[in-house]
Subunit: 372 residues, 4 copies
């Protein structure tokens, strides 16, 4: 069970290795009638593309997406949408050394233990390159969310010790600086910090925050399929993620109930409001109609230029120095990946939610005589 499929009703299946011929994704369960072009998808892929900043790997890949099926006359047909991105930057390279050792912090050892061997040319399926397919699928999910009026805002909250000051929050900054930070001052500091790490041939971690607006109340399923549970799974499925929290998150553990409970109020127009949002927009696994707030902690890039201790595949203790220029941070390029995974999850749950009540189900049938 290779585990490359995500979602129940809006289902994506990704395939491809970092150093294989191509990567791709099949999206099954996308409703018919949505306008869709390659440009809609390329827009998001370009945000993830390598080689765009001094802090991202210099591997140049155009990452050009091609729609192979599921779209006819510019609209989705309701059948599987197959997307492909060719790997064009495959140089001949001597993998002899890499093939014989386990890089620290990488999945080399665990893949070998599981499968008995591995595609040593890169991370294979554990490579960050695999997220290309997620971003492509996410772009389609975001098109669906737009039609329903749901917006997602995702950004770098912190890099190493430098955190965004929310009083400086500027949404337009997010995709205009190299680091995805909505605060130009923090971005400048973080860039300096990253330069230092890079010079030391070291790397650093960071935190991404994601806010969802416009999601109706009532989305999410009880017990095991809670909305936050599935979002957490989606986010932890991104390589390098070590922590996920919603609303008050870990700080809720030190709060008192009287602080942490969000009080509901009716405003003067009779609309429901909340005085706080420590719940992060989800209670009992179901959305409450207020913004979803979550944070995702990423570990530092494991590929660093420093000499590291490890073992060879034969079990000998060795010193390993991985050549090449390394990306000192994963976070900025992961912003659009986090957004994609949140979008894909939300579409799946919005579809599930439609089926919660008999009155809504009857609505669909009443309006469509003699055919579904």
């Amino acid at each position: 069970m290779a585990g490359s499929t995500f979602g129940k009703l809006f289902q994506i299946s990704t395939w491809g290795e970092s150093h294989g011929k191509a990567l791709g994704v099949v999206i099954d369960g996308c409703p018919a009638g949505i306008p869709l072009s390659e440009e809609d998808i390329q827009k998001d892929l370009d945000k993830r593309k390598p080689g765009q900043s001094p802090f991202s790997t210099p591997r140049k890949e155009p990452d050009q997406v091609e729609i192979l099926s599921g779209v006819f006359e510019g609209k989705t047909t309701g059948t599987p949408i197959s997307l492909i991105v060719y790997n064009t930057n495959q140089r001949s390279y001597d993998y002899t050394e890499i093939s014989k050792s386990y890089r620290p912090g990488h999945a080399d050892y665990t893949y070998n233990m599981k499968y008995g061997f591995r595609d040593y040319r890169g991370g294979g399926r554990s490579s960050g390159r695999e997220t290309t397919a997620r971003v492509a699928a996410g772009a389609i999910a975001k098109k669906i969310l737009e039609e329903i009026g749901v917006q997602i805002t995702t950004y770098t909250l912190s890099i190493g010790p430098i955190t965004v000051d929310k009083t400086h929050f500027d949404k337009n900054e997010i995709f205009s600086n190299f680091l995805g930070m909505p605060d130009p001052i923090a971005a400048k500091k973080a860039a300096d910090f990253l330069m230092e790490q890079k010079e030391k041939k070291d790397s650093t971690g960071g935190v991404i925050e994601c806010i969802v607006n416009g999601l109706p109340a009532g989305v999410g399923e009880p017990v095991f399929e809670k909305l936050d549970a599935m979002l957490a799974k989606a986010l932890f499925s991104i390589g390098a993620v070590k922590g996920v929290e919603f609303g008050a998150g870990f700080s809720a553990a030190t709060m008192s109930g009287s602080q942490n409970n969000d009080f509901l109020r009716s405003n003067t127009e009779g609309k429901v409001e909340k005085l706080t949002n420590y719940a992060g927009g989800i209670i009992g696994g179901i959305s409450d109609g207020f913004p979803i707030e979550c944070r995702v902690a990423f570990k530092p890039t494991p590929s660093i230029g420093m000499i590291q201790k490890t073992i060879s595949t034969e079990g000998e203790n060795i010193d390993l120095q991985v050549e090449g220029r390394h990306d000192p941070i994963i976070v900025p390029r992961a912003v659009i990946v986090v957004e994609a995974m949140v979008a894909i999850t939300l579409v799946d749950y919005l579809f599930q939610g439609i089926l919660s009540r008999m009155d809504r189900i009857k609505q669909v049938f009443t309006n469509n005589e003699k055919k579904l």
Copy 2:
């Protein structure tokens, strides 16, 4: 899609409301031939049972489990095991007021938005009482893990501001103090703190830690079904959980790569060792053979005796005081619930892992001629 089923191969489906006739679980996919009695399950249920400490709700429920199917002559048959626990503590009670308002911090509002109405006699499916069924299923999962040599240790790491001092770690303390803390000194401080909160009619949150030993390397599936991703889903599916982290967790975000990478070494006996375990036993979503370490943050009990602001189901602003004695902390009774969810997830993944390699699959067939 009500979401009450968990697991792919070892699959549990829970049912029942806090104030209904009974609660139960159907376990489908339990292999044949495992010795199983009601006592095996009761042992764990007794750890979750209410009314055992000054800090747990005084509702007295014997929570007696009954095996209805799937066991014959003391062994599992390979077919569904149905377990039932009757709700015996259902007093007549006037629910008029509760039925007309949304309790802050509870899922009352979100369930109403989703389903159009709700079982107002308690939390329904969002009640902590639902976890009875998980604990029952978890006891069976733990029996399977025992046969394979996997052990889980779960405990309260912190309550409000008081955290366990690991230099005092004593495993025997966990189920001997009321709070599930493996450190008697911290437990004493936490008890005092809780007494204060209780007197203020307030509550507090806390953190549970879970350590898994003996899990082989190679367990977990790539990409979306990473072992940590599924454990996170399992843990976030427990009501009141707001954060989950593995290994270094959120602190990895401020570490450098050279710190965070765990170095592999061969020891003098040729066995693989790791110098650190910041990965928490999982890399690339696959176990590395070292202890799995995760932490789970719980919010404070939302039911508190203080007067709180909220709205009625008619949308009027009201002040609500929920009567009765309230449990000032969720964490101690949740320890066995966390353990159950981890156990259930691990069994499912151990089973999936068997199918990763053709040589292992052939092994099974070779050893069993003319029949599977």
Copy 3:
């Protein structure tokens, strides 16, 4: 993977053995707001109940259903509905002989090969008694279909060599004669034939036909999840079924295309009509708005009073005579089981169908502001 769950969105999980404490089913994914009582379910269970005719097993079971969860104030809550039926007719009985041999035509041998042992007191999960749970779940599915305007008519088409003459078709006959035949003349002949078989301590097979009216066009999913494919799975999951066909069925194999193609026409009111229905209401796996027609072939009851050759569990050749009175035909009691499986499948597919088009999905959101 014990395989006791059916359905994707409207999902049922059955449990229980023929000679265990009880049988039951958990229905997950039933929308909220449907009026439901135990009587609604009992009505169908009474049609399957043993001991009602000279041709059904004399085992007397009241088969009284109890709703344990998922219904509040007379309406479904949207959370799992747990139903239980206790086995009350468990006499002490000497199973020594049965436990040591494999009954021909029964699953004794295959269960032993699979699980290493079996519950020898009856068929365990392979017993026809397991269908009690399906009928209970089917009653709920039929309530949902009623709300949407779908009707199912199911009846015995043939018993051994005697087939219903459709020119005598009388729907009221179906549940008024013992045999479920909509033709009183055929029913009389079949009863005589069965009496003969019974006297010979032998049994016979038969065919059940099922017609669905009122199903909208557009229900069913392409490729692997075709509506007929899933109905076939549902029907073959009933023990003793050996063949399933839709519309022209096996006879289509000898027809020419010009005969077999159903021609579409607009009638004078502009409504679409079909001149024939050889497709049985399904083309490309999707309903065409005309009646679904399928036929299901049942093998003879394997339990017969005659002496039969078989082997013991030790592998010795033996002659076996199974004592007790035996039911000479499965078909009449299976009519309501076939209907249940068709109903359960249709509900699942109607729910899936809602998600085929973006315009329908938007409809649901547009009509429900600020909440799902």
Copy 4:
């Protein structure tokens, strides 16, 4: 839910339209370590390829398969195998007329009802061309079955009124005559019959039979996931299938129990034998170790050259004559498709079966220390 995924553990997802850029399949859950080349797959694709006989559509497609992922150094890696076949035979063509009418016997009408529009250039996902992807996946499934010692034999049993005489059975004939018939005399008659149909611009149906040898006893899951139930679903998922039966099939309905029950015997070497195989190798949904036997009825090709009555998409009554040369029979090219679907299903069930017993599960762990 577009329904293009099949299987639980060995899972295939197909995509692509008959007149799109390409068709493909992603195989997820294929164990690591199986030698696999494009030739292994091409071999089966060549059996399905059009333009090879006077009775198959003259559309010339090389149907060249390309492996895009999941294979490294000639062996499967355990991660998704992505296969692609480009559509090369796309001429410019005037689809105006076809786009405005519903072809009788095709899914044009039902797809339009479901999705609101359709890819009118061909059958889209309902085209027989979709089965290319199944055959490619089936070739991989068959490689796995070979390793375990399971063989599948599939052939044309009848074409229109002409049926194979089993006393002439010659396995080598199957892929040497154009019709997949294991009897050269029947094949000659069938060819003459088809020529007549072709001259009349008409078509005919037929039956395919599939025999599985070497499958161990104990494969299949109880209740809803019976082996025959899933095989039936797999077979009915092939377009144009109208009936499926196992063993005695529909004829079981007219047999007596004493005839239909297969008697078990121990032979002189102590091996279990069956005196008959009316069960077709499956009892209670579980294989009994004897050959699986099933038959699949196909309707005639719906595309015929004769003038047919139908309606336009605007609802007008029209006469339609579909130009071009038409294939007078589906059956011969469907032989390898039936075999593929059976193989895919069996692999999935063999994998599931491994998990039936704790002793087998422990075997895997015992033999693999410190790692899975």
